[in-house]
């Protein structure tokens, strides 16, 4: 996986190149927007990690020009700007992710992995949490390697929670994933699905955050 790092701070760039190479990313580095545009044109990388405060132009302009050329290269924005507006405009312009500085290096690597997974032709189809595994291609759930039959909506709830492991999914978020617009949803539909999932997969797997939603913790 080839990554182009666009960052004007030399020390940060050196450290990042080293950290990313350590985990197997092929990383190239440019210091300004002009060089970035040139590299993206002649030798497109798989992922662009883009700082917004560049010496010659705004990083968002680099993003614009990438998208204007019809390129769909995933772009992860790395910036010291904290306001939500900057974040929203970045995502609006077609950035795939947004990480505010100062960030944790493992967090950056994890996010790059997510993008990588999305890109890879061989979709990573198996997610494991403890003794539960989920195969997203065959839509198969196994408990201790024994297949468990799940109705479609229970499978969808489990998939949503396992794909977002460690993150809280609110009831509304789950409902919008499971039901079409206008479809009748009983107020406790999600609770019922979770109840059934717990009966089939063990009560410890899905955790309730009262008033907020559900999560599956990282083991």
């Amino acid at each position: 996986m080839q990554i182009l790092l666009v960052e004007d701070d030399q020390s940060l760039a050196d450290g990042l190149c080293k950290a990313l190479r350590n985990v197997g990313f092929i990383t190239n580095h440019v210091r300004d927007g002009k060089a970035a545009r040139h590299v993206i044109e002649v030798e497109p990388p798989d992922i662009v990690v883009l700082d917004l405060g560049l010496p010659d132009m705004d990083g968002l302009d680099v993003l614009k020009s990438i998208r204007a050329n019809g390129s769909t290269i995933p772009v992860l924005i790395l910036t010291a700007r904290s306001s939500v507006d900057a974040r929203v405009s970045g995502l609006d312009l077609g950035a795939d992710d947004y990480l505010p500085k100062p960030f944790e290096t493992p967090e950056l690597i994890a996010r790059l992995r997510v993008i990588e997974r999305r890109l890879s032709t061989v979709l990573q189809s198996n997610i494991h949490v403890g003794n539960v595994s989920l195969d997203t291609i065959r839509q198969q759930v196994c408990l201790d390697d024994v297949p468990v039959e799940l109705p479609r909506r229970e499978y969808m709830v489990l998939k949503q929670l396992m794909e977002n492991i460690g993150k809280v999914q609110t009831r509304e978020q789950l409902e919008t994933r499971l039901y079409a617009w206008g479809e009748e949803v009983s107020s406790n539909a999600i609770e019922v699905h979770v109840h059934h999932l717990r009966k089939k997969l063990g009560s410890d797997l899905i955790k309730t955050i009262r008033g907020v939603g559900y999560t599956i913790r990282k083991p």
């Binding site: 950290a19 350590n22 405060g53 010291a80 700007r81 939500v84």
Partner: protein
């Protein structure tokens, strides 16, 4: 407080009254002199009339009126004729000219003249009090209108001064109507010459204020950028070091912790600055606090779960008018405080509901609470309960609640901190006024 209007009205009315008084006195005096001259010439005419009178045998004749008196004396001092209202004594000396004399209990204006033709003295008198009455009447008629017009003058002066000051009032209204964060120029067009320097000075002041606010905002944004990038670099290098020296974990762990403390402090200082009501550019909109709390709890769940604490959200959907970004900061600070200062395994409850005085957001924990004596100080910047030896041994910089207070102020919200009545722990309640425009009443009341 002195009033320009009152001052002008009093000063103008005093001047007008004084002017009128002086004019009236002067007019009275000159009218009096005029009247005297006129009456004296009348007296002279009367003498001439008497001179033509033929002397009758009876020396006593009735006066033309009781207000006039006359005597005719021969040159050798014998009384030839007199009016009934005089005695036998001459009413004045035998010498040509006007004189004031007393007789018959009155004061008289008397003219004596020697009649050359018939060799006799003609003495004619007229009562002075009558003359004065007459003159007074004439003069009073002349002066009265001036005095009578004073109230009318006062009214006109009142209106004119009021009208003249209306521009000042308008300027005051425009200044008074400005919002705290509105530093735009005054729009008073065509101010009068006297007010132009004031308007210019205010506009100049506003411009400089705006520039300094912008400068500070830029500084804070620049500082954010300048500090965050090197911090990121340090973090990356620590990460790499850890990969290279897996054994040196203690030193690296301490270093990591210190860097996190530093970056937390920097973020909090910038937040504190950014949320000061004077510099914050709030984007007020309808925000559902309950939904916002859901999303904030979702984001913070990993941190809370890492301390084996449980968190729950109760209450119902409540909409407030607020700034979404700053409300997220407020919620995060309160929830992270609750988590940080409570022991592992504690439980945190976030509650959103309608209360008597507005919408109440409260975050309760089961931690140690805060000693009563220190509760009032927790909003102070850099203040930490128990100093840096807080029993939780948690890292912190003592800015979290100052930021919460700033954001509360932005929303005209009341913040109440109370130790839980029914067990250990602390509850921080933020009460948003039901009607954002309503005047604030900063009274302590029981939290919801």
């Amino acid at each position: 407080m002195t009033s320009i209007r009152t001052y002008l009205i009093v000063a103008l009315l005093s001047t007008v009254a004084l002017g009128n008084f002086v004019a009236a006195v002067y007019g009275y005096r000159s009218s009096m002199i005029e009247a005297e001259a006129l009456l004296d010439s009348q007296l002279n005419d009367a003498v001439s009339l008497i001179a033509t009178m033929r002397t009758v045998s009876t020396p006593l004749v009735d006066a033309p009126s009781s207000l006039m008196a006359f005597q005719i004396w021969s040159a050798d001092g014998k009384l030839i004729q007199r009016s009934a209202n005089t005695s036998d004594a001459p009413i004045t000396v035998f010498e040509d000219g006007y004189r004031d004399e007393n007789f018959e209990g009155f004061r008289w204006r008397v003219l004596s003249r020697f009649d050359q033709q018939q060799q006799r003295w003609l003495l004619v008198g007229e009562r002075i009090d009558i003359r004065t009455q007459l003159a007074d009447k004439v003069i009073l008629h002349a002066v009265m209108p001036i005095v009578a017009s004073l109230p009318l003058v006062a009214l006109v002066v009142w209106l004119v001064v009021g009208n003249g000051l209306s521009l000042v009032r308008k300027l005051a209204q425009e200044l008074g109507g400005k919002r705290a964060d509105d530093l735009s120029r005054l729009t008073t067009s065509n101010p009068p010459v006297e007010l132009a320097p004031v308007v210019d000075a205010i506009n100049d002041l506003l411009r400089r204020l705006q520039e300094s606010v912008l400068r500070e905002r830029r500084f804070s944004a620049d500082a954010a950028h300048e500090l965050r990038t090197p911090l990121s670099a340090i973090k990356v290098h620590i990460h790499n070091l850890r990969n290279e020296y897996p054994d040196e974990t203690d030193a690296l762990r301490t270093l990591d912790r210190d860097i996190n403390r530093l970056s937390h402090l920097i973020e909090q200082i910038m937040l504190l600055y950014r949320t000061t009501p004077e510099s914050y550019q709030a984007n007020m909109q309808e925000v559902d606090l309950h939904a916002l709390a859901q999303s904030v709890i979702g984001d913070l769940y990993a941190d809370i779960d890492a301390r084996q604490q449980s968190i729950s959200l109760t209450g119902s959907a409540q909409t407030v008018t607020g700034d979404r970004d700053s409300l997220i900061i407020l919620l995060s600070n309160l929830i992270l405080n609750a988590s940080k200062y409570s022991a592992e395994g504690a439980s945190i409850t976030v509650h959103v509901d309608r209360a008597e005085l507005g919408i109440c957001l409260s975050v309760a924990d089961t931690g140690p609470g805060i000693p009563l004596a220190e509760i009032s100080r927790v909003f102070d910047r850099f203040y930490r309960v128990g100093g840096d030896r807080h029993s939780s041994a948690a890292d912190g910089c003592g800015l979290g609640l100052s930021i919460v207070k700033h954001i509360g102020d932005l929303h005209h919200a009341n913040i109440v901190i109370e130790n839980n009545a029914d067990g250990p722990g602390l509850t921080v309640s933020v009460i948003f006024p039901a009607d954002f425009q309503s005047p604030l009443i900063f009274t302590r009341h029981s939290a919801c």
